[in-house]
Amino acid sequence: MAKVIVVTSGKGGVGKTTTSANFSTGLAMRGNKTVVIDFDVGLRNLDLIMGCERRVVFDIINVINGDAALKRALIKDKHCDNLYVLPASQTRDKDALSLEGVGKILDELKEDFDCIVCDSPAGIEHGAFTAMYYADEALVVTNPEVSSVRDSDRILGILAAKSKRAVEGLEPVKEHLLVTRYDPKRVASGEMLSVDDIQEILRIPLIGVIPESEAILQSSNSGTPAIHTEKTDVAEAYKDVVARFMGEDLPMRFTTAEKQSFLKRLFGGR
């Protein structure tokens, strides 16, 4: 049975699109036939992060309006065989993203795919609501920072009250906390919320911690999700997230600061 997973956060800039790109790539690398859908109508960016921006011909609104068949709008990822991207529209007509239209697309995709990843826009408006409505599971992307944690809590409230599963009284959406842009050094010095703090406040199971990393900017520069890079913390951390999502029990990594030598500390190495 195909799973619909929403990547959401409320707050912007916390790493939803980065996570959508890496998570869907990770799922595909492990043999799941995966499609990742950009719900940010008017501000599409998943195509850039995935490196397929020049191959966009049709988008999700074209499919909903019947201008293009779904199969023609799907873009095959250049790195992974099992991965497809359904881009958002750059039109400003957000209302075209109808709940009913999206439902039809998801039903059709469920016949062919194992995993459907929905990259939510920021906010709690129509696009974000549509992205989360049909979700079976949710990755709640949170930065160790007060406004992000508060917005994540708000999103959890909306998932619990307004998603299809909530409205129809089915089993609730399965929620996973993903902490991104984590800096263990600043946590150790008491100037950043720890994973434990965030988990205690939001009270949902932790699926992973992605450390702050220079590799993210480099991978978005080149349009190749960081999970493809060899031996970076970010790539390993995202692979762990995917493994845990698929049921493996792995210990958390990248959550404690590396011990630095006395000399390095003295001379302020990074």
Binding site: E145, V146, V149, R150, D153, R154, G157, A160, A161, V187, S189, G190, E191, M192, L193, S194, D197, E200, I201, L266
Partner: protein, 94 residues
């Protein structure tokens, strides 16, 4: 933070770390916001408010808008909060 600044902090016994402040602020605001949504406002609250208003109005003249009934959920207990603002010129009323 430079080494000297952190050394001074250390010697002073240091103030509360900012992450601790962040956590406390979040816990307070989220408890409040969670109380304000979904199941936290039970159906009987408006009726309760109405009846309480009647009882109080028997003895004191109060403005309807000056009374608030609020139910807050905490970890293992709930708080029913009743907030009535009495008029300033009570003597003339009674």
């Amino acid at each position: 933070m430079s080494m000297i600044a952190s050394l001074i902090d250390y010697l002073r016994g240091s103030e509360k770390k900012s992450a601790v402040v962040a956590k406390e602020r979040l816990q307070i605001i989220l408890a409040h916001e969670r109380a304000g949504r979904n199941a936290s406002a039970p159906d009987y609250l408006p009726a309760l408010q109405e009846e309480l208003l009647e009882v109080i109005a028997k003895y004191i003249h109060i403005d309807r808008s000056m009374m608030k009934v609020n139910l807050q959920h905490h970890e293992d207990y709930d708080v029913l909060e009743l907030n009535v603002t009495l008029p300033e010129n009570r003597k003339q009323d009674s």
